[in-house]
């Protein structure tokens, strides 16, 4: 584990060194491609004066609220689709269709419906999250061996108990991969939305990136991009890493 972390750190350092060297050699216009040291200077400045943390907090809140709402909608709707053919033929088909729509396409509509408010942002995130979670839940629950349900019934499991103690945990590997996909969609769509839409109630990472471009501050653009990558990586590791490891331990190879 430590060796792997070390490998990665060395790799990044080499990359940065090469980049720094190339910029110092003045092969490019330094305004268009600032050196990593310049980006680092921006990052430490923005970190100290709070702009970066504030923006990250705004983005994280939008993502968290939207993701949670998408999960709260997707899980029960997915369960519904797994149990009833009529739900599959209606909500299920709708979900399949809407999943192919990049959720940033909802941004124009969201602006018209909610105006320049947080609700518009949340809406875009919800549209990115819900459908993959819904579809993964529906498929996962349907793939549960009927034998598990029969076994549960003989032991006295009924309705809600069966849903909570057999259907959901039994479909967990599928649900987690749906949650992961939903997360990826939500994160990407939120970034796109923040870049294109100015919301006066909060200033997220995407907007910071956008204004970096407007001001021709490439150090800011690259700095914010680094932060976005770092947050994405960390979120995957912190949110999904432990769950996936647990699944592999419990379910064996299938997860």
């Amino acid at each position: 584990m430590t060796k792997r972390v070390l490998d990665f750190a060395v790799f990044v350092l080499l990359l940065l060194a090469a980049w720094e060297a190339l910029v110092r050699a003045e092969l490019w216009n330094t305004v268009l491609l600032p050196a990593p040291s310049t980006v680092l200077a921006y990052l430490s400045g923005a970190l100290l004066d709070g702009t970066l943390l504030d923006a990250a907090a705004v983005t994280a809140r939008r993502l968290g609220v939207g993701y949670l709402a998408g999960m709260l909608a997707g899980l029960p709707l997915g369960l519904l689709c797994s149990r009833f053919q009529s739900a599959r033929d209606t909500i299920g088909v709708l979900a399949l269709g809407l999943q192919t729509l990049p959720s940033v396409c909802w941004a124009p509509l969201a602006l018209l419906w909610f105006g320049q408010t947080e609700a518009a942002m949340t809406f875009v995130v919800v549209m990115g999250t819900t459908w993959s979670i819904l579809l993964a839940t529906a498929d996962g629950v349907r793939a549960i061996p009927p034998l598990w349900l029969r076994a549960a019934r003989t032991m006295g499991s009924r309705r809600l108990h069966t849903v909570l103690h057999v259907l959901l945990p039994g479909a967990l590997p599928a649900i987690v991969s749906g949650l992961k996909q939903g997360w990826a969609f939500a994160w990407r769509s939120l970034m796109a939305a923040e870049i294109f839409i100015t919301i006066l109630t909060g200033f997220g990472l995407g907007q910071l990136l956008h204004y970096g471009r407007e001001l021709h501050a490439m150090d800011q653009v690259l700095g914010v991009m680094t932060v976005i990558v770092a947050i994405g990586l960390l979120a995957e590791q912190i949110l999904f890493g432990p769950v996936e490891r647990w699944l592999r331990r419990r379910f064996g190879m299938t997860a």
Binding site: A151, T154, M155, G156
Partner: protein, 268 residues
């Protein structure tokens, strides 16, 4: 579960009663009559083995008694009451282990106990551990299901079926996938448990010797449609030795009957 005394004298003797039970499955390639007019009585504390070739409706019969399927005709009584659905008085051990992979070994044994009303958490765990010890898996309480061998999985399934202390055990070829040595150990354990805890058992197998070792009675079924063909009382003292002469003699007789009645069945 209360030790429900049957309301009238007539039923008290039989824990399980099947009268004229028929079951037909309608599938993609026509209807299959899995059971036709089956009559069967199992007395309290009796160990009855259902013996028959593949496809003669043994699992179907068990599912009907378990309340997982409804008969098309006839009636099924447990403790003198009509069976309308699954109940904690009748636990099933399935042909495949049916353990839940998201739960540990202990968690699987706890599943049925958690559904028993009025059992505090602490005593649930005590009971589960007791049954894990009984099947010799104490050390694996926190193991994941996929880490167990086939035989260990079946032992966990046995512990899970026993833990809620059902009066009736319905067992569907529980030991078919095990090696001979493990199987023989479990024969001993199972007989011991059933004697001590006064279980009524309906045990499906297509292993003739297994049926003779375990059963007080061996009921022979024939396929297409599934019917009860005859039965043999096993009047041998327990514990029985699967290699003993008494078992061998009886097994030979039963095998001969099976052969005579269904020449179209390939020998197993």
């Amino acid at each position: 579960m209360t030790e429900a005394a049957a309301p009238n004298g007539e039923e008290t003797a039989a824990k399980l009663t099947l009268r004229g039970v028929s079951k037909t499955f309608r599938g993609a390639n026509g209807a299959v009559t899995a059971l036709a007019a089956v009559d069967l009585e199992v007395a309290e504390g009796e160990f009855v083995c259902l013996l028959g070739a593949s496809g003669c409706g043994k699992s179907t019969l068990l599912a009907l008694v378990a309340g997982l399927e409804r008969p098309d005709e006839g009636e099924i009584l447990a403790h003198g009451q009509p069976v309308t659905g699954p109940g904690r008085d009748r636990m099933v051990m399935f042909q495949e282990h049916a353990l839940f992979p998201w739960r540990t070994v202990l968690g699987n044994v706890l599943f049925g106990l958690e559904l028993k009303p009025g059992l505090p958490r602490k005593s649930r765990i005590e009971v589960a551990r007791y049954y894990l010890e009984l099947v010799g898996l104490t050390k694996f309480a926190h193991a994941a299901v996929h880490e167990l061998s086939g035989g260990m999985k079946q032992r966990v399934a046995l512990a899970r079926a026993l833990a809620p202390n059902p009066q009736v055990l319905l067992m569907d070829e529980p030991f078919a996938a095990l090696d001979a040595m493990t199987r023989e150990r479990l024969y001993g354990d199972l007989q011991e448990i059933c004697r001590k805890r006064k279980k009524t058992v309906l045990f499906v197998t297509h292993n003739v010797r297994e049926a003779c070792v375990l059963g007080d009675r061996v009921v022979v079924m024939t396929p297409r449609p599934g019917r009860i063909h005859g039965e043999f009382r096993v009047d041998l003292p327990r514990p029985r030795d699967i290699n003993g002469i008494g078992i061998a003699t009886l097994a030979t007789r039963i095998t001969a009957t099976l052969r005579a009645e269904e020449p179209q069945e390939p020998a197993r």
